[in-house]
Every structure is written in C-alpha cells, then in structure tokens.
C-alpha cells in the first residue's frame, strides 16, 4: 500500500517542475556540444535582453507621449504591438519543437486545476511573455508619469491583458502541440514556415507596386479591429484618461469576457489532455485484408545502365526527396531567388535585357550563388538516413555504390535546378555572351564535381542526424559547415581568379578553356576518390552509425 500521507500544493508542484527543468538543463551541459550551445544561448540572451530593455524605453516614451499630448487612444497601437509579438513569436519557436512537454507531468497525481495553473505559470516564464510584461510595465510607468491618476486602472487593465495573452498563447500552443505531434502536419508547418520566410523577400516589390492601393482597404478594415483585445485595452485606458467611466467599464467588461471565453476554451483543451488525449502517430491496428498475391510488372528498368545497387540507391534517394516537404520547397527556391534578386535590383517590370543588370555579371554570379545554396546539404548527405545507415554496412555492397547513387541523384536535382534557373534568367535578364556561357557551364561542372569529393569526405567524417519536418536541434556539424565554407571559398577564389585573368589578358575564351580543363580534372579526381572514400567509410562506420542511429 502506498504510504503517501499528504497531497502536494500547487506552489510546491510549480517549484518541483522548476527544479526538474533546471536538472534537465544542468545534466545536458555534461556534453561538450551542449556546453557550446549554452555559450550561444547566453549570447542570444544578452542580445535579447538588450532588445527588451531598448524597447522598454520605447514603450515608456510612447505611452508618456500619447498620454501627455492628449492622444490616449493611440495607446492601443502599443497594446497591439505587444499582443502580436506575444502570440506570433511562440508560434515560430514552437516549430523548433518543445524542450519540455508539460503533458509528461500528467503521469503524476496532479489535479486538472493544478495542471492548468502550472501551465499558465510557465507560460509567463517564456521569453515572449517576460519581454511583453516588461514592455507593459514600461507603458504603465510612462502613462503614470504623464498622468498619475491612471495607475490603478492601468494596473487592472495590464493584469487582465497579461492573463488574456498568456491564456491565448497557451491555447494556441496546445493546439499546435496537437497538430505538430503528427508527422505530416509537422512537415506542412515546416514547409509553410520556410515558404513564409521566402515570401518576406517579396514584401518590398509588392509594397512598391500595391502599397498605395492597399492603404484605403486597410483603413476601411480598421473599425473592425476596435473590438479585439488590444484595441479594447487601449480604449479602456483612454476612457480613464478622458474621465469616461462608462467607456472604461464597457471596454474592460468585453476584455474580461474575452478572458473568460479563452479560459474556458483552454480549460477544455487541458481537460482533453488530462483525460489522456492520444497524440501518437503510429498506425492503429487494423484487420489484415485477405488479398491474393499479384506479381506486378514494374515495366522496363529506367536505370538499367547503372548497377542494381546504385540504381536502387538513386530510387531510394528520389523517394526520400519526394517525401520531404522542405526539400520540395527548396527546389522552388533557386528560380524564386533569381526572381527576387532581379526584382529587388531592377523593380517589378523588367524587359528582356534587364535594365541596369548586366547578364555578363548577373548570370555567373547567380549560378555561383545557387551552387553555394544547393551544394550545402551534400556536406552531410547521410543526415536523413537514420537507422537505415546500418543497411549500407550489412548489405553486400561497396560504399562507393552508396556514394555514387547519392551523388547521381544530387546531380540530377542540380541539373534540373540549373536549367530552371537558366530559363528564369533568360526571361528576366537574358543570357550572357557565348564565351561567358561556356565558361559558366564548365565552371558549374568544376565547382559541383570538385565539391562532391570534399562533400563525400565531410559526410563520412562529420555526420549529423537530422529529421524530416523538425527544426529543433537540426544543425549541421560545425566541422561540416567549416569544410563546406572552406571548399566554397576555395572554388570561388579559383573561379574568380580565372575570370579575372581572362579579363586582364583580354582573351575572352581563356576562362572557358581553363574551366573545361578543371572540370575534366575534377571528374577524374572524383572517380579516383571513390575507393579511398570507401575505405574511409569502413574505418569510420562506427562514427556514422553512432551519429545517425541516435
């Protein structure tokens, strides 16, 4: 019989959870890599602190100015800024995964009330909440200095606003947790995140084009925002300053109604979690269907020129590519980048020959930039193999086949991307002269194949596991990044030197000839390296398996 004699108070439970989180952090620091991460965290913390303190002054000054200059209604804009930051920042952070899942606490004898309160308490300990509370207090100070009588009402409104924000943030967080627990939605979220980041680049040209016409539409929509929490908080403060008790009461009452509504919704969500909501994504047991075995003919082998092992690895890589939302999106990036760069440098409208943009510079420059981006994953090419890496070592094949298969798939993707990008360049900027085109194409072969050899070595020597649709902890090995950086600087320097020599000597075809020679040397070097890399893989297999099977 269990000999527990007393229940634990909510305060004690909060203290225990805080202690648990501290132990998790402290124990994680036993690893060297995590200690290095801590340095990064401290650095980010200092920067974050500077940002919070700096903006605190801005919020103080804003509130003081609005109140003292007779424009208290404008305080709503400050509430809006804080509200958006508090709600949006954690959503982006959520995509990087949660360090500590509160659901795991449910195995302990916690009441639903305690679970709810602990969750709210830790919601207030997040960076976004701490920063927002700082800014709200700065606003309160600013408004109070301008008009001391506003302090009690301001404190009440700020308290309600804080509670409302933390409740909404927890509600969004718990829904996100539910959605991101499933692999597919996690990947879609990740894809949308990347897409939204890319889309930000279009803001400038879009504003240039549609800014003027969008303004009236935005102004027409403004009144509808008046009944949303930040506007209500602002109106309540303004009503106090204008000595309009009815306005204060109505705005505050609606704000409290929002609080009650979102609290009820959050309670409902937590109650579902408390009852044991299933977030697992494994397949549910199903009755096995009675099927007759039908041997299907896959048709002719399109990769019959390759050995069966290499062909299978190419197929596997292709399947992995088609099932990786992020990789799919990254395929869209090169032509998009060309569009963005050409728009940013010349505006939305561009004639075939690109006003002000020289294809002689833009074409090789963009190709170099694209290779820089597209080759980066090759330096950790086993990242997504996971435990499958063991198959490469238990199957009867030489590791050169694995490298060949992976490299062939990468070359296929690169070729496709480069062709697409060239078409985009042709449309936006036009093609360069024949000698520059040939030189660029040969340089592309040289830099890609030359880098492949180094990238294969890096992939075997500095492997780092990565998972589809996850962002937390998804970093390349620091050494792999350094190697990639070094290799790209080397290739870039060689290419720049050759192009400069061509210009300097006045021999327009010299770069093309030099790059063709280097491309041939790179191809020969690549094939010569495969056996050495196979031996290296055998030597490093424990490192590979250990790193990827975690």
């Amino acid at each position: 019989m269990a000999d527990v004699t007393q229940s634990v108070s909510v305060f004690e439970q909060i203290r225990l959870v805080a202690g648990l989180r501290w132990l998790i952090l402290r124990n994680s620091l036993r690893k060297k890599n995590n200690r290095l991460d801590l340095i990064g965290l401290i650095f980010a913390g200092v920067l974050g602190g500077i940002l919070v303190i700096g903006l605190s002054f801005a919020f103080y000054a804003g509130a003081y100015t609005f109140v003292s200059h007779g424009r208290p209604g404008w305080i709503a804009s400050l509430f809006w800024g804080i509200f958006l930051f508090w709600q949006i920042f954690p959503v982006f952070v959520a995509g990087f995964g949660a360090n500590f899942e509160f659901r795991t606490l449910l195995r302990f004898p916690l009441s639903l009330r305690a679970f709810y309160i602990i969750s709210l308490a830790y919601g207030l300990a997040d960076f976004s909440a701490l920063a927002s509370v700082c800014w709200l207090l700065s606003m309160t100070a600013g408004a109070t200095v301008a008009k001391p009588g506003v302090l009690p009402a301001m404190l009440l409104i700020v308290a309600a606003f804080v509670l409302l924000n933390v409740t909404i943030e927890r509600l969004i967080g718990s829904w996100l947790e539910r959605l991101l627990a499933r692999r597919r939605t996690r990947e879609i979220f990740f894809g949308l995140f990347v897409l939204s980041m890319i889309s930000l680049n279009f803001l400038t040209p879009l504003m240039q084009r549609y800014g003027a016409s969008a303004r009236p539409v935005f102004l027409r929509l403004l009144p509808y925002f008046a009944w949303l929490p930040p506007s209500l908080a602002g109106r309540a403060v303004a009503a106090v300053i204008r000595l309009q008790p009815a306005g204060f009461l109505v705005s505050s009452a609606v704000l409290v109604l929002y609080l009650v509504l979102f609290s009820a919704l959050l309670w409902q969500r937590f109650a579902a979690q408390y009852r044991g909501e299933e977030l697992s994504e494994t397949a549910a047991p199903a009755r096995a269907a009675i099927r007759t075995i039908q041997v299907k003919d896959d048709g002719p082998d399109r990769l019959s020129l390759l050995s069966p092992q290499v062909a299978e690895i190419v197929r596997k890589e292709f399947r992995y590519l088609t099932r990786n939302g992020f990789a799919y999106l990254s395929l869209l990036m090169p032509p998009l980048l060309i569009l963005i760069f050409s728009m940013n440098s010349t505006g939305w409208h561009l004639t075939r020959n690109g006003r002000g943009v020289s294809a002689e510079i833009f074409f090789p420059g963009m190709m170099a930039y694209l290779i820089l981006i597209l080759m980066a994953p090759a330096y950790n090419s086993f990242a997504y193999e996971g435990r499958g890496i063991q198959t490469y070592f238990t199957a009867p094949l030489r590791f050169r086949d694995v490298l060949l298969g992976k490299n062939l798939m990468l070359l296929f993707v690169l070729s496709l991307e480069i062709v697409l990008s060239m078409v985009m360049l042709l449309w936006r900027v036009g093609l360069p002269s024949a000698h520059m085109l040939v030189a660029t194409c040969a340089a592309i072969i040289f830099t890609i194949v030359g880098q492949l050899t180094i990238a294969n070595w890096s992939s075997i020597t500095f492997p780092r596991k990565m998972e589809f649709g996850r962002m937390q902890g998804q970093r390349q090995s620091g050494m792999a990044v350094l190697v990639a950086f070094g290799a790209q600087i080397l290739m870039g320097s060689i290419s720049a030197a050759i192009l400069f020599t061509g210009k300097w000597t006045g021999n327009l075809w010299l770069p093309a000839q030099a790059f063709i020679f280097l491309a041939a040397a790179a191809v020969a070097g690549y094939f010569a390296s495969l056996d050495a890399l196979t031996k290296l893989a055998e030597k490093k297999k424990e490192v590979l398996i250990e790193a990827l099977c975690r």
Binding site: T282, K316, R323, R387, G388, F393, T394, P396, L397, C549
Partner: protein, 262 residues
C-alpha cells in the same frame, strides 16, 4: 557446405578502457538454432555487431561459412541476413519499397524481388498498408518488416538481435515456425533475446556471455549436465543462466532492503 557456420578466434572489442568483448572463441555449427545470452551490458549486441560487419573488432578474427570476414566482407554479407539492434530501416520508404530496395541490394533480380516482397508482406501481415511509410508503422510492424528484409535473399546465416521484442503473440508464433523451418533447411540462426523461455523453446545450442567473456557454450543438454547439484534434465534455462552468471546467490539484490514496499 562447411560444417561450421560461425567461428571466431580471440574476438575482442575495446571501447577506451572498457573491454566489451574479451577474447571470444565462438563456434556455431551450420543449421543450428543458436541462442546467445547474457545479462544487460554483457557484450551480446557488440558481438552481434562485430559478426555482421557493423563494428570492427579490436583484435581477433572470424570466419562465416568458412570465409574470412576481414578479407571478403562483401562475399560474407551476401550469405547473411541481419535484424540489427535498431532494425536499420529507411523510415521514409513504404514496407514494399524497403523490401524491394533490400532485395536488389542483395543482388536479386527485379521479378524475384517483387514476388518475394509481396509474399513476405502477406506473411508478416503488412500487406494491407501498401502506402504507409515505415515511420508510421508501430514498433511491432517495424520489427516484422526488419525480419522480412533479413530473409528476403534466403540467407544461410540469420542474425537476430531481440527479434520478438514488440511482436504480438500471433505473429511471433508464425515467425517461430518460419525460423524453425529455416533451420530444418540448413539455415543457421544466431539469436539474442532476454526472454529465456523463447531461447529454451527454439534453440538447440546456447552460449552465455558475461562481462565480455564467454562463460558457457554448448547444447542445452550439455549445459544442464554441467551444473552440479541441480536436477539434471529438469533444470530450466533460467536456472542455468542464473547459476552461470552468478546472480543466484550473493550478487542478487536483497529484497529485505525494500521492506517499506512489502
């Protein structure tokens, strides 16, 4: 066909100061169902990793089916099937795609790979989810798929690291029957498991590893006969195991220390 399927000489593996496998001399005859036992951390998985090429030994040598592993790794791997500790699956493939991948890796032609894949998926009751990715399989389904992949090329030696862990009783029964049938046809099966009842029921021969050293090896009858003072043929494998690894006496934790639980 050689009489000895697996033979090792002074097989040793060190991890820094720790000797995980300490000079093992193992001998497994062809066609045996061989159980490899040991307490947690004894060196079972390290040994199986060395024998399947996932880990290089620090010293010593090994021959599988008479072929030296170090000299001809590809030739040896062609003859063996493995269910490694982490199962070694590519989680972004479907079950059928993975089996086809493995079949082709082992040099089967496309038609044979296709036919065997479908038959194995049916047998393992995985055929009703043709579009489900392995990442979305349950643990038991993944285990069954790993087993299917290990046998698709008809290996002559099959290495299984905890093969029944997470597999339901129905599937486990079918798998045991399949494995027994394979040994009847001459396949050597090298199995590690913590469930001693399974080993006792399936295996004809057993080796016990403790603290990296091989402390017993032989048929179940030989091991029973080697324990003095026990009830001879009635001795269970668990009793043999406890007796050999020294957990039956003073090393066993004393329950009296947990008096508050009783």
């Amino acid at each position: 066909m050689p009489d000895i399927a697996i033979q090792t000489q002074q097989l040793t593996r060190r991890f820094g100061n720790l000797i995980a496998v300490d000079g093992i001399d193992l001998q497994v005859a062809a066609g045996q169902f061989f159980g490899f036992l040991g307490p947690n951390g004894a060196g079972k998985s390290t040994t199986i990793k060395i024998l399947t090429g996932l880990l290089a030994p620090t010293s010593g040598s090994m021959q599988l089916l008479g072929v030296d592993f170090a000299a001809n790794p590809v030739e040896v791997k062609r003859q063996i099937g493995v269910v490694p500790e982490g199962m070694g699956l590519f989680e972004r493939l479907t079950g059928a795609e993975y089996l086809k991948f493995v079949g082709r890796m082992y040099g089967l032609d496309r038609a044979t790979t296709q036919r065997r894949s479908e038959e194995l998926l049916e047998f393992m009751q995985l055929a009703d989810r043709p579009k489900t990715m392995i990442a979305d399989y349950s643990h038991g389904m993944q285990k069954k798929l790993a087993l299917a992949a290990a046998v698709i090329h008809g290996p002559r030696i099959l290495f299984l690291d905890e093969p029944f862990e997470g597999v339901d009783a129905l599937a486990a029964g079918a798998l045991k029957a399949l494995l027994a049938r394979m040994t009847e046809r001459g396949t050597t099966i090298f199995l590690t498991s913590h469930v001693l009842e399974i080993v006792e029921r399936l295996c004809s021969h057993v080796a016990i590893i403790h603290k990296g050293r091989l402390v017993a090896q032989g048929s179940l009858e030989e091991l029973r006969a080697g324990i003095a003072g026990e009830a001879g043929s009635k001795t269970t494998l668990e009793q043999i195991f406890l007796s050999i690894v020294g957990q039956s006496g003073t090393e066993r934790p004393q329950l009296e220390e947990l008096s508050w639980l009783m």
